[in-house]
Symmetry: C2
Subunit: 342 residues, 2 copies
DNA sequence: CTGAAAGCGCTTACAG
DNA sequence: CTGAAAGCGCTTACAG
């Protein structure tokens, strides 16, 4: 069965009694095809189970019927779920998806973006997940023949979806302020400078704004850099406890950082919320079980939304509206790790 | 720069002063090419930064220079890491990787395996990660033109890599027995019957064998089915506590199941190891932080190993040895969740 | 060892 | 609205 010869456009032409070029046009929904012809072709194609050869179509100048997902890594909670949700949308749209993980490796990153024409030869479009890009790379992508959409990026000339990180961080911080805390630390990652991704920067800003709203200023000693991982959080919290000052509450830039912080607390004979109130940002599945208060952000939804944005562009290359940036809502989840200051 | 016209085989032929067919042969390392020609072609190709068009190459009957990873899901810890490790091997070998997530959806599963000739048109080979296959599907794959390799599968006619699940489960169980426990429960997933994946079945077997080694038999009441997720573990442990009997020790088929079990314990005012000793299997990054005793299994290594197996087959289609099954080692990690029976 | 020719299955102008 | 022709960039026999 898998060895049966595949039907070609020739077969469809023969069966429908039309030329292959009319078949080609009909199948792609191009104008200048009579309804009668359209119907005959559709019938013949269906009967033969015809699917155009991706290779031939691509070589002749048509589409590849495939897209690439470019992600900083495929292993963390956020990216794994975003990738799977996007892949589902692409598969349901009849598109194959090529996975490109940058693996947080600058060499891989530059290799990919230095050969956009190579990429454009293999896929029709790309979905970027929080990819840090230089101005030059943004322009090159925009000028390429590739359709582009992204998740979690800033100020880019294509469709984007994300959350309002400033707002989310402010919500988390205000939750702590509302509980009577005024001595707050933040454990958060830091961007290296590419202005296309400002996730961590925005979270720090939301924290700062929330404090300012209560006439408080940020204590530089209580701002500690932390990679968005469990181990990053553990180290950051240890740094706070051992070398700086222990505040009464902590905002962790993401849940995994918060988990690490809770582990560090335990290692020092402390715990949340007894000694420190702590709140994260993500709503990782472990948060529920660890009783972590956090700000939930939709993850599969962002991946699927971004994928749909790309599919739209692919379907209506010309008629599509101006690129826009969409924000999805977040919401506070109060659990045991945060409580009123005594 | 991304708009520069791509070099074609014609350009290489012109620059090297040879015909395109000699160039084609030289580039693919085929026999019957003089050393002089080989050198000229290599030089010209390098100078032009020539890379063969995947579409043209495929259409003419050559390779696609891409492979597919087929995985039950891309979101769980194990599969996310295996996918990324495999993708890295493929990328480093110059292969593009297509990601196909079955999303635990039987409809997607059968759609994919019903159209192997469609798949074979797009990729040269597939890496299967714990994919449940019927006899018919195994034969169809084996008879197809696709190169195949797998991770975590059983009794398949192609190269495979995995761990000895019976042994790993026995190690976990014997750890509990050695601590003086003799009243043991197991929380573990169950295969639906496809003999190509026996992970859960083998873990239950290892548990049973370990007990038998101490002249103990399995209490059917203490064998509870649990999907390999946090929530699955939570429910399974609740079932044990509420409707069955509370043993003194529990072997959870995977770490995520163990996390859920620990959460359920807490919800019932119990905890490990105070009331119950618990041991998992995986060595998930959270295990260290939650103090979970577990049996470590290599995850990125399995993905990379499987990918290399596939790359080997692709490079030496004929000369390669008989398909073999490789087992990677596991090891016990003792932490706080298990202790001597009082 | 090397090259001329045909063909893979499509799409794109260009005629009708 | 429809079709004949050329061509996309390779590889595969087949001659030399």
């Amino acid at each position: 069965m898998s060895e049966v010869q595949r039907a070609t456009i020739q077969d469809v032409a023969l069966l429908s009694g039309l030329s292959i070029c009319t078949v080609s046009r009909a199948l792609r929904g191009l104008p200048n095809v009579s309804e009668a012809a359209q119907a005959k072709v559709a019938g013949a194609a269906a009967k033969l189970g015809y699917v155009a050869s991706a290779a031939a179509s691509r070589l002749a100048g048509g589409s590849t019927r495939s897209v690439a997902i470019i992600t900083p890594t495929a292993t963390t909670w956020f990216f794994a779920h975003a990738v799977e949700a996007a892949e589902q949308v692409f598969a349901d749209s009849g598109l194959d998806t090529m996975l490109i993980s940058l693996r947080n490796d600058p060499a891989v990153h530059s290799r990919i973006f230095a050969d956009l024409s190579g990429l454009a030869q293999k896929v029709d479009g790309v979905l970027l997940l929080n990819v840090e890009l230089t101005e030059g790379q943004i322009h090159a992508l925009d000028a390429s023949s590739l359709a582009v959409a992204s998740v979690g990026m800033h100020d880019v000339p294509w469709d984007n979806v994300g959350i309002d990180n400033v707002q989310a961080a402010r919500t988390a911080t205000e939750h702590l302020l509302d509980l009577g805390h005024w001595d707050l630390a933040i454990l958060c990652d830091r961007e290296k400078g590419a202005r296309s991704v400002l996730t961590a920067t925005d979270r720090l800003r939301g924290f700062t704004e929330a404090l300012a709203g209560h006439d408080l200023t940020v204590d530089a000693d209580l701002v500690v850099g932390a990679p968005s991982t469990i181990d990053g959080g553990r180290r950051a919290m240890s740094e706070l406890i051992e070398n700086r000052r222990v505040p009464t509450a902590v905002f962790a830039g993401c849940d995994e950082t918060a988990f690490g912080a809770m582990a560090a607390l335990r290692e020092h004979g402390l715990s949340a919320p007894r000694n420190i109130s702590i709140v994260g940002l993500d709503e990782h599945p472990m948060s529920h079980f660890l009783g972590l208060s956090t700000v939930q952000q939709p993850v599969a939804d962002q991946g699927a939304f971004g994928a749909n944005l790309l599919v739209e562009r692919l379907h209506n290359p010309e008629t599509a509206p101006e690129p826009a940036s969409h924000l999805l809502p977040t919401s506070l989840m109060v659990r045991d790790s945060s409580r009123r200051r005594r």
